[in-house]
């Protein structure tokens, strides 16, 4: 195993172990997403057809907001006791840390999605009219789009005073193209009115561009004062 993948695996295992013991990110994400589902279901009483039109937006916006809660936690445990400095003085590559954090967040947000999607289906009486299997690549690519930028910008805002405000300020504008693709592709599958292929390709391109950009810039972010 190469040094990069070895350290990525070690850091990912460490993060999962820490999350398993503290459950900081998962608990706060779950409660937040659950509140969104319940509050929205009381606020609207849509018909089945209306549900199909708005559910894509509701689902992804609630996942985005819930993900921000987890993303803020990601680096919090690295600043406690200044453990990040131990990583910075080691010869470990910066990208191993970034990839491990992004993969960890991907796993946590995917768990949230797996738990919350049945609730959305139940509350909004959803039944896809288009090819349902396409929801899997949309969920995977969409979640990666959120966490890869989220992990990067959470690291960038690490040393700012109001980092919990700074993260959504940086993340939301840059996530608009991905969010648009996620919402439009999900709606396309739920309504069955159009093909979601264009939006899936757009999501894939977005992921490739931003993952590359984050990997190229992360060392500068990590070593910045």
């Amino acid at each position: 195993m190469s040094l990069l993948s070895n350290i990525t695996a070690a850091t990912l295992a460490k993060d999962i172990r820490l999350e398993w013991r503290s459950k900081d990110a998962i608990n706060s994400m779950l409660f937040f997403a659950l509140l969104v589902v319940v509050v929205f279901s009381f606020s609207f009483d849509p018909l089945a057809e209306e549900s199909r039109q708005i559910a894509g937006g509701l689902i992804w916006v609630s996942f985005l907001f819930a993900a921000v809660v987890a993303l803020n936690q990601t680096w919090a445990r690295e600043i406690r006791n200044q453990v990040l400095d131990a990583y910075r003085v080691s010869p470990a590559p910066a990208n191993s840390l970034f990839l491990a954090k992004a993969l960890g967040n991907f796993i946590f947000v995917a768990i949230l999605e797996a738990l919350m999607t049945p609730l959305f289906v139940m509350f909004y009486k959803l039944r896809p009219l288009g090819p349902a299997w396409q929801l899997i690549p949309i969920a995977a690519l969409g979640t990666w789009a959120l966490v890869v930028n989220g992990t990067f910008f959470a690291a960038m805002s690490l040393r700012t005073r109001a980092r919990e405000i700074m993260l959504p300020l940086l993340l939301f504008p840059i996530s608009i193209p991905a969010l648009l693709a996620m919402v439009r592709s999900t709606t396309a599958i739920l309504t069955g009115e159009e093909s979601a292929k264009f939006w899936i390709v757009l999501l894939l391109a977005y992921d490739v561009v931003f993952t590359t950009g984050c990997l190229l810039l992360f060392e500068t972010v990590l070593q910045a004062e």
Partner: protein, 215 residues
């Protein structure tokens, strides 16, 4: 060797043109009042704080990143995960240094006088135990240069003296050691040189603590 090292935080200059030559295989104790620049100097040597001006040349390189595997850094905070045990912490850090010897973690924990089988998470350790575990983390990869910031704070006198003996043995084995401390008396007889800092500058270098004893 550091040359004309300047570090500014905004308008505040923490280091104001530090120039010094440090020989290998010696134990240096860096002393000075709060705000004298001791920690900033140590962080700059470790490559954690880039200098505003000046150069550092260590182990034949001017890039700290290039030789960071040869540094062992211990900061005032523990640099450990509170939710994991000492052995789990060192297990993770050993992977960062590609250490394959599984016994190494237990070896350094024993070296600093702790029990490697302790199952409590580090967050439940006493402050002194945490300091010793932090030292174990810094020693894990057998570095050539040790940069230690307040290693004896909150450590009981007996344990602190044991740590000093350990540092002395390491110096004797050829390691270069920098210790920032307010408990310099502990190092008298062990440190090769006391480096006095004031207002971001090195103002004196002495073989003993005499300037402190002189009113």
């Amino acid at each position: 060797m550091v040359t004309d090292l300047v570090k500014q935080f905004g308008r505040f200059a923490a280091l104001r043109g530090v120039t010094a030559d440090f020989a290998a295989g010696r134990l240096y104790s860096i002393l000075g009042d709060n705000g004298a620049g001791k920690t900033t100097l140590l962080r700059t040597l470790a490559g954690l704080t880039p200098p505003t001006r000046g150069t550092i040349s260590m182990l034949g390189s001017t890039s700290a990143r290039a030789v960071c595997a040869q540094f062992g850094y211990m900061a005032h905070p523990s640099l450990l995960y509170d939710e994991m045990t000492g052995l789990e912490n060192l297990g993770y850090f050993s992977r960062l240094y590609a250490i394959r010897d599984e016994g190494r973690c237990k070896e350094v924990i024993t070296l600093v006088g702790l029990d490697p089988e302790l199952s409590r998470p580090v967050g439940q350790y006493s402050q002194g135990m945490r300091q010793r575990m932090s030292l174990a983390r810094a020693l894990l990869h057998d570095p050539r240069v040790l940069l230690l910031d307040e290693p004896f704070s909150n450590v009981d006198l007996h344990s602190a003296r044991e740590m000093v003996k350990l540092l002395g043995r390491m110096r004797d084995s050829g390691k270069t050691i920098f210790v920032v401390t307010h408990q310099a008396q502990l190092l008298e007889g062990t440190a090769d040189e006391f480096v006095w800092m004031q207002a971001g500058k090195i103002v004196d270098r002495t073989p003993s603590l005499e300037p402190l004893k002189t009113p």
